[in-house]
Amino acid sequence: MEKKVLKSKWNLTPEGWNLEGVPSSQDEKRYTQVGRSVPRIDGPIKVKGEAIYTGDMTLPGMVYGKIKRSTYAHAIIKKIDCCKALKLPGVLAVLTGDEAPNKWGIVPQAANETVLAVGKVRFYGEGVAAVAALDEETAEAALELIEVEYEPLPVLLDPFQSMERSQEVLIHEDSKGNIMHAGEQVYGDVDKAFAECEYVLEREFHTNYPQHGFLEPHSALASYDTQNGQLHLWASSQIPHYLHRQMSIVLEIPMNKIRVTLPTIGGGFGGKGEAAPSEFVACLLSRKVGRPVKVVYDRQEVFYTNKGRHPCHMKVKMGLDKDGYIQAVDFDNTLDKGAYSGWGIVVLFYTASMIHLPYKVPNARFRGRSVYTNKPSTGAMRGLGGVQPRWALECLMDEMAEMMGISPYELKLKNAIESGHTCINNMFVPHSEFKKCLETAVKKSGFLEKQGKLPFGKGIGMAGGYYITGTAYTLYQNYKPHTTVMIRVDTEGGVTLLCAAAEIGQGCNTVMAQMVAEELGIQYEDVHVQSGDTEIGAFDLGSFASRLTYAAGAAIKMACVEINQSLKETAAGMLGVRADQLVIKNHEIYSMYEIKKRISWEKAIEVYTSINGTLVGMGNFSPPRRKGIDIISGNRVQGANIGHSPTFGFSSQVHEVEVDVETGRIYVKKVTEAGDCGTPVNPMCVDGQVEGSIMFNIGACLYEDQKLDASGKHLNPNFHDYKTPTTMEMPEMDTNIVESYDHSAPFGVKETGEGAVQPTFPALTNAIYDAIGVRFYTLPITPEMVLKALKDKKEGEL
């Protein structure tokens, strides 16, 4: 097939590159695979409908599992009677919570979730029992026959109410005050700094309760081999190895008897970044009935069990000196945790870490608490822990710029960090093009010419943001390498990358193939990627926290060193030159001094394998460890490791809106974005991530919110009333990748999967302010709120 090279700004003109002064390290002449907008390797099977997702699979003898769900948000389970269900022909087994009482959870110290409720339900729709039956109809019918007796308890839906009424009701017996965790971090002398500030402003911000809305519902297929005790689970997950470990804990079988395989995954956005009851139920039922069991949620179940974004109730205070330099930030955050802890502690402290970047903050204080409520647990959702504080801080800065009478751009640029910055909490930023992001977005959008000058109803707003990549997680209570890859090269299979990274749609398989090809001097099409399997691939933490490109990149580089060395040695022998004089490029191995001395790469492989057999390279990545300390006092600060990252991605957005001042409808007209993602391994994928991110958070800023009635029952557990953006809501999008190369990172890469969601809320909120002169401190910003605010404003002016 003819190879199509797509026209994009990145591979269009190599000349153009040099004219613009691209660093030689990024020169296309050096990178032939990395930096190209090649089409995704899984594109064709996906457009043909041939990609296999978990729900598409069937195994011989497979039966179906379904979960009975609670009709109370908070209640003691008095009795579960499954007799009638068991008698229904076709029903093979039922399962209740006490059969698998071991607690699971992504943060081992705080794991407190069970597969099905044990003794008590804590949110509406929590699983209370499950059935396995020959077909789905029977399984569904059996659920109706399970009788559950509840003793309702008071339902707490708001974190403040939950703390207030904790004397009377506890959601978890061991969590006093209904507080999952509370923490404080103090750096420097915040009060003193405020006292000396010229400008001080404090505001309260409240965020909403959106969820991921990935299109593929949770699905799991488990096959337990009763003879040898092996369990094989196929699941729509972002975290094969975590899942693997949780399975081992809950099923009490050793990890080496469990295999987790990811088929194609239909999106995750963090929502598949924890284990899901569907997965446990499939495994437990399979073990019980000795046959493969498939559990596929319907959309309603996804809503009931979703681990969406924490509603945050934030008080933020910022102080600037007379020149506008930030002197102190005081941040108080109450997070709505929902029913179980999940990612809780991590998210709590992520929100804390977000005040330290992307602006220089010499004094900072955080106080926060994550509070249990009778809602689905909140968890990781695109830009975990960042989106809420980013919104608050960037909006606050917008307001402070106005206080000072300068443009928010000026204020932000003035305070923006640069490469080599160490934050007060000891977070280190090896490289940053954040200023370039601000400049590019502002310039390209004409922000300065427009802000404050557009007619009433039209507005423009800007914001910056950043995110972590390749960061360390102590979730295994162990600092083993966070990613290990193996590359196998031989005459039969060519080049195969074996790993457990999770391709959830973000394009990591393509990007990894490009990186392998780059290092080995071949084409990305030559690389087979076997990912997402705990048996084929060695340990990988999972696809979250925008860690994959960085982590896999480092591990791939390391693995390729071994392979290249072996090949060079083989070729050296054949060519009669020294191995260290050889270059591998474009499928050839040649001497850099005598270019006539060359052999084809394939030939070298053939010779190598005929002597040694298959060539294998292993590589791994361990994130550097940095202590969370106050760099002035040197004191260790609780939770302050969280947020540290080997490097960070940065971005900036400018939003232009039109507000229909009669109806309150907000129309996002144009978004100009500039991002520093390091080297864009595949610029087309980067743009796709960024565009997706922007729409994702436009949705959460204007439309999306999960609503519950007073009893905790969902009012909109469907896409009809939970409104995600459609094509009609899409603004014009101008995304720009700023030139960037992080010398501390493999291939100079950073991240783009979650950084780009960060500036969306504040840029949009600031644009609305510019349009109608009203600042909003609550999300989502609905037409009703706009109308009401306009009315109040008018009355105020009278």
């Binding site: 789905e136 409104k723 459609t726």
Partner: protein, 293 residues
């Protein structure tokens, strides 16, 4: 989520259909596009014993539009057909527009005009402009037919003036009057896939002078259990030349008549606000249009 078990009939002719409707009675439901029916059945809100699928009956489909003679639209004419029909676009643009704003392209391909009215949801798109155009429905049974203004057919939320054994077979639209225009608009949170929080249609007919209002009909959706025809707007504006002040007064009158409720989609207060805005805009637009005709 499975549907309940039911017996399925697919009649081929109107006579067969009416026969089935007569003998199966209230235990049966007519299946047109199913875009409402399937959803409520999945939610187990209703569990009919019989479904009568009318998609095999050609006579229930089609748009018959003759110069000077209004139009007749079969109950099972798909909304997409109405959306794209050049005849409807030319003669009843408000209807073509409303049909094109229902759900999504797939929904419009499946959903029927009759289903949209028979579903009797206060938020439905097309009944509003249809009432504004003085559309009538034809209800048929084995005993014969009767014709009824659409506004008298839809009585409340999921309540119709439909006797047992009867079904809706077609809509009869009068020819638009000379010097008249009809306009439709809706408001929701998104611009697609939206259950309207308010929708509205206005028909204005002018006197020969092309200035004074001879007749005006303003119909509101989603603010009352059924399409609500404003009495006050008609009373205020008939015989008048319209000015901004007068229009504002009329819009406020419409606002006063609306009896919306609070629900997850919008508050009653917001809906009332929107009634005023839409009324103001639509009266102006329809007035300008009518003058231009």
């Amino acid at each position: 989520m499975f549907l309940n078990h039911f017996e399925y009939f697919a009649p081929k002719t109107p006579a067969e259909t009416l026969e089935l409707v007569a003998c199966l009675g209230s235990k049966a439901k007519i299946l047109a596009g199913g875009t409402d029916l399937m959803v409520v059945m999945k939610a187990k809100a209703i569990s009919p014993d019989y479904l009568i699928d009318i998609n095999g009956v050609e006579e229930f489909k089609g748009i018959f539009c003759e110069q000077g003679k209004g139009a007749v639209i079969g109950t099972n004419t798909k909304l997409a057909e109405i959306q794209f029909s050049e005849a409807i676009q030319a003669k009843y643009p408000a209807l073509a527009y409303a049909a094109g704003e229902v759900g999504s392209s797939q929904v419009r391909q499946m959903a029927s005009l009759g289903g949209n009215s028979c579903n009797a949801s206060p938020a439905a798109e097309t009944p509003t402009p249809l009432v504004a155009m003085d559309a009538k429905v034809v209800l048929s049974s084995i005993l014969g037919e009767r014709e009824l203004p659409l506004e008298e057919f839809i009585l409340g939320v999921r309540v119709l003036d439909l006797a047992e054994g009867e079904m809706l077979t077609k809509f009869v639209l009068p020819e638009p009057k000379l010097k008249s225009a009809c306009r439709y608009a809706y408001m929701g949170r998104r611009d697609a896939m939206e259950i309207d929080c308010v929708n509205m249609a206005v028909t204005i007919e002018l006197e020969d002078d092309g200035e004074k209002v001879k007749n005006i009909k303003l119909v509101m959706g989603s603010v009352y259990p059924r399409p609500l025809v404003s009495k006050e707007v008609t009373a205020l504006l008939v015989g008048q030349k319209l000015s901004d002040q007068l229009i504002e007064k009329a819009a406020e009158a419409a606002q006063g008549e609306a009896k919306p409720i609070d629900d997850i989609r919008a508050s009653a207060e917001y809906r009332r606000e929107i009634v005023k805005v839409l009324a103001r805009r639509l009266i102006k637009e329809a007035y300008t249009d009518a003058k231009g005709v």
